[in-house]
Structure formats: structure tokens, C-alpha cells
Symmetry: C2
Subunit: 255 residues, 2 copies
DNA sequence: CACTTAATGTTATAATTTTAACATTATCGC
DNA sequence: GCGATAATGTTAAAATTATAACATTAAGTG
């Protein structure tokens, strides 16, 4: 509501931009006002900074996500994807070159990569890259291009070629929809090329999808179920339904 | 030190992966142990999670940076780079296609990009991409490749070609060393190609360096001072020293 | 310049978090 | 199964942070 208040906030935002935390005490001294004023600056108006136990922290990168409290329920919702990824991780071997698809499904997998001595991760997703960038045992290859915020991923016209150069061992693919007759689909068309290229070059292909994706159809088809070697899922009905087909169908790994 | 402890940490890391915070109380319930145990999990071993005023937060993306406390001094140290970037931002115009170099110098610039209606940012640095990925008015092009953690940037053998395709308007380049006789240098050799390509294709070239970089020589030379149109710096002696040469030299923009 | 209002500072109190010491329960090897 | 050790739980005291109410200072207006 105040000109000076806004300037103080900008000042603090600078200080925090590199990702540390600033004690309320120091923030007050830095701005030359009392702690109470900083407190009010932070509560009066919406800002990218939150106060957590006396320390100022930047509401999470990149700039938008506010620091909110997860409830126990919300947190436990990750268990499904976590279980899925635990199962998927069982297929990973020392020294593998993995293609990791975009989306939120495979994110839990990445925290399990630190147990290996040496791996290579190939991805076209920013969130995947971020989750892996800190691991010293993982060689990260990010396929760049134009950024699509909705899927946190990149797209470019030569991504197919780039992927085919890479000697990918195992492709871990996620999807927004899996239909037994029509095939596997996702939301965005720019995801089709990298997914297909990865499926084409990888030696083993894994489709990782939770139960909610079955019977769902999304705008962009990119594969049939027969393109995969293994489907990792928590849908107990999936195995029964899959048997019906006559073409060579993937194994089901139930998490 | 403990198998279960590690599993709990992984579990919590999952829950926090999307960027919220989790109250110690909820974390304890989620894991089915007491708050004290979670406390110990977090203090006994190094982890990406820190406890801030009773709430668990992910130590900042990407993965490595621990949540540390900035002192007042450290925080005010950002003012130098902030001033530099404020000056540099003055050269940016609506609709520009900017090449943003890797390193920490240009990061403060990115928070000033939200004032424009429409911009394109080209970069080969993960931290730059992260800072820009949330801005709805910025089109982001990330040049991918193999990730180099030390500089948070990517390198690949066809980066030159990729850059030259892009129609970059203004190149904002940072450096680790600037020597009046020997030229401009950085630490890592993989940075040379993208920097040179950007300098070659851009219509305007800006070198953004604080005073501490002058007179310093680093392993990899990538340009001479004459390659730049403008040098943005806070070194008051820079202008005087630059006049000495006879070749066409850049303007100095003093912040 | 007095008056009004907004902004900031101060203080005391309430709520919460942290720490430390000790009690209890599990785990492992023999 | 028993003893030793590690892991976890419980409790109370100490430290810190949050809140609210009121005092003070600064800014804006007729």
C-alpha cells in the first residue's frame, strides 16, 4: 500500500534471489526499520516472500508458487506415484542411459537415482532436469527448445534427431490417457516427437501410468500399448483387460 | 544413518517435491513417527529438506543449495549486481530477443523482465531458465545438451548452429575475467562456443561485469573488448583505461 | 500551522518451536 | 532368549517467534 514498503520488498527480493534465507532481524537492519515493519510489509500486501519461523524465504522458484502448507492428506496422495516409481526403479540398472518423460508421474523416481553409482538421464522437461541437476552420480542431458509452461517441457524441430544420437537404454514414458483400443495419448502435440523418438531408439520401453489414466483419451496419440515392453501401473484390472488382444502385448508390473 | 530414516526422508521429499511446505506435525503423522524422530532425521544426516520454524521446506531448487542464512552483509552484496542489472535493463526494449549468459551476474536482471509486455529469452543456463520459466510474458528458449553443474549450464556440439538460427537481438554476456590487453575470459571451455556464437549473431553486444573482474585472467578466452558495443560495469576506472586503445572500443555504462 | 491520517516503533503477552535429558521400545549378534 | 546397542518416544524447561494493543513519529491537507 506504500511506496517505501514496496521498495523494501524489492530490496529484500533481490537479497533472496539467489536462494538463501534472511533472518527477520537482518532484514530489518538491512532496510533500516523495525522487525515489526518488515512483518507488516510481508502481511499487508501479496509478495513472493514468505516468513517462515522468523526467516524470510523466497516463495518457490520460479517466482509464482506461494509457500503454502501441505496437509497430511495432500502429501499422502503422492504415495500412489511414489509406489509406481518404486516399482519402475526396480528395472533400472547400474550405468543405464534413461529417457525420462515429462509430467509429474516420474518425478518421484528421480529421488531414487542417488542409490546408483553412475547413470545418465535424458529428458526434455525442466522439472525433471531440476530434480536431477543436483545429483553428482547422474549425467544429465537436457533436450532444449521452446519452453511450454503447461507441461514444463521443451520442444524443437530437431529433437528426434538429437534423441536418436544418444544411445538410450531404457525409455520411461508417462501418459495422460491409455485406451485399450485407441492407444496411448498425451495433452500436447510437441510431446509426441520426443516420446516417439525415445520409444523408437530405446532398447526397453516402460509405460508408467496410474489407474486414473485408463480408459481416458487425450488429444495427442503417440503410441499403442504394443509399443511397450512393460506397463507399470497400480490398476489391478489392467492385466485382465490386456490379455484380450492378440498382438504381442507388454508385461504388466503391478505396484 | 538408518534405513528407515532414509526412507522417511525420501517420502517427505516426495511430498515436498511440488514446492509446498509441510508442518512438522503433519510430517510426523504422515510417517507414523513422533515429531522428534523427524527432527532427528533432518539433523542427523545431510538432506535436501530443511526445517524452518516448524515447517519442512525443500532446500532450494535445483536440489543442492542448502537453505542457509544470509547475513545482512551478504544480502547487501547483491546490491552491486542488482545495480549493474538495473543499468543493463535500461537497454532492453519491448519485443527484444535476448541472449542471457550463464553465471550469477545476470540473475537479478531476470526479475526486471516482468515489466515488459513481450520478450524472448535465449539461454544455455539452468538457473536462468528457472528464473524465467514462470514469467507469462517471456518466451523461453533453452539450448540443451550435457549439464555442467559447476556453471549450471549446458554444452553441446551443435550449439553454435542452434544459436545462429535464432535471430538474437541483444546479447548480454558475463565474464569471470576482463583484461585490457588479453581480452575477456571465463572458467569453462564449453561456455566459449555459445558466447562466441551469440556475440557473432547478435545485433548489439553487452558485457556485464562488476569491478572485481577487471585485471583478472581465467582459463578460457572468448572475446576481446572490441567485440562489445557496451560494457556495463561499476568500475569507475574502466572508462579511463579503455580510452588508451586505438581500435573501436565499446561504450562504458557506469552503474 | 494545526489537524488528520497513515506509517512505524515499542512493549507486554501468548503461542510455538527448540533443546536436552531421560524413558522406552526395537534390533542384532551370540 | 539375553544382553548390548541403536532407534524412537516423552516430558519439561528454555528460547524464539507471533500477536495485539497502544505510543510515537512522519506525511498530507485545508
Amino acid at each position: 500500500m506504500n511506496d517505501r514498503s514496496a521498495r523494501r520488498l524489492a530490496m529484500l527480493q533481490e537479497a533472496l534471489a539467489s536462494g538463501g534465507t534472511l533472518h527477520l532481524r537482518d532484514a530489518a537492519e538491512l532496510c533500516g526499520v523495525s522487525e515489526m515493519t518488515i512483518r507488516r510489509d510481508l502481511t499487508t500486501q501479496p509478495s513472493a516472500i514468505s516468513l517462515l519461523g522468523g526467516r524470510l524465504v523466497m516463495a518457490n522458484y520460479p517466482g509464482v508458487t506461494p509457500v503454502y502448507d501441505l496437509t497430511e492428506q495432500q502429501a499422502s496422495h503422492y504415495h500412489v506415484k511414489h509406489r509406481l516409481c518404486q516399482r519402475a526403479a526396480g528395472f533400472i540398472e547400474e550405468g543405464d542411459t534413461l529417457f525420462i518423460d515429462c509430467g509429474s508421474t516420474l518425478i518421484p523416481l528421480l529421488s531414487q537415482l542417488s542409490h546408483f553409482r553412475e547413470l545418465t538421464v535424458v529428458t526434455y522437461a525442466l522439472n525433471v532436469a531440476n530434480s536431477v541437476a543436483g545429483l553428482p552420480n547422474v549425467r544429465l542431458v537436457l533436450l532444449g527448445g521452446l519452453f511450454y509452461a503447461s507441461s514444463q517441457s521443451f520442444g524443437s524441430d530437431n529433437m528426434e534427431a538429437a534423441i536418436e544420437r544418444l544411445g538410450i537404454n531404457k525409455a520411461l514414458i508417462s501418459a495422460a490417457g491409455v485406451d485399450y483400443e485407441r492407444g496411448v495419448s498425451c495433452f500436447h502435440f510437441h510431446e509426441v516427437a520426443p516420446k516417439q523418438a525415445a520409444i523408437a531408439t530405446a532398447m526397453q520401453r516402460f509405460l508408467v501410468v496410474d489407474a486414473s489414466k485408463f480408459g481416458v483419451v487425450r488429444p495427442a496419440y503417440f503410441a499403442t500399448l504394443a509399443d511397450f515392453d512393460v506397463v507399470v501401473t497400480d490398476d489391478e484390472q489392467a492385466p485382465a483387460l490386456l490379455v484380450s488382444g492378440s498382438t504381442p502385448l507388454p508385461d504388466i508390473s503391478l505396484a
